[in-house]
Subunit: 153 residues, 2 copies
Amino acid sequence: MQKQPSDHLTEYLSGQGLKATRQRQAILRIFAAAGRHLSAEELYLLVKKTAPGTGFATVYRTLKLLTEAGLADERRFDDGVTRYEYRASHDHHDHLICTGCGRILEFENKQIEELQQHVARKNRFLVQSHRLELYGLCSGCQSKKRKRVKEGT
Amino acid sequence: MQKQPSDHLTEYLSGQGLKATRQRQAILRIFAAAGRHLSAEELYLLVKKTAPGTGFATVYRTLKLLTEAGLADERRFDDGVTRYEYRASHDHHDHLICTGCGRILEFENKQIEELQQHVARKNRFLVQSHRLELYGLCSGCQSKKRKRVKEGT
DNA sequence: CTGCATATTGAGAATGGTATTCAATATCAC
DNA sequence: GTGATATTGAATACCATTCTCAATATGCAG
């Protein structure tokens, strides 16, 4: 049987002398099930449906906790809101962000990573982390734009 | 004679029906002379030395204005503060950011840009802009760290 | 050069996301 | 179960950014 996210969390918590509360378990479950980039606010709204008593601060703090536990990644794109991404087993990846509809696509490119290391070495720089984001229009928003142009709106 | 930043600004302003005020001219001059990434706060402190009456809101608004006029670039790194960079003639570039001392190095890599386009095409994505930041330790901070480890502090 | 319409300024206050405080409560080792 | 202590939820603090508004500066028309 595979290790569940909840096991991972429980382990981390007991290792740190922290407690596995009802709220933390619920938040993790809902966060993992959502399977997309969520802000604290968005997750809070989801959590409230199932567990109405849960406070915003708890959701907020739990997201930080999950990040420390390695179960989530913090992402700050250009709109000033911090989003969290559930970290399944998949590797590091970067993002394509549609400025039209806000959609977020993921990608991975080994060659780019290698070139980054190359750049770092040239500057005697030791890379701890990186972020690469491409902002633009997804295929859907490109068609919409073409249509608008054609119709002259 | 080369076109000066102030000319560029004046042109932009009159084109938009805006006014070339004392404050805007002073802010641009000081910003251009600083030649590094500055937050609104930092620039405000610099401007106050020469032109004490100038308000923070004006510095802030002028930085937005310079960005629209193409004389500045807005950068948001991971510390939550927006920084502005004077746009001289040099091309687009990306950043190495030292998590030890906050130092910012710049780099440019054509191959990475090409690979980004390749990734975009594969996803039928039309890139409008991108950001690539490498976070880590500059050579100075690496030595400091080694020293600390050696001394066991 | 003068007057006028209007863009701009500066101070302060509003905003909005993030982070903390604190008394009440839940957790868990014993 | 009991007690020490981590956690919760509500409210509040924080802080960069943005807006408001009355006073002022700008620049065009005449």
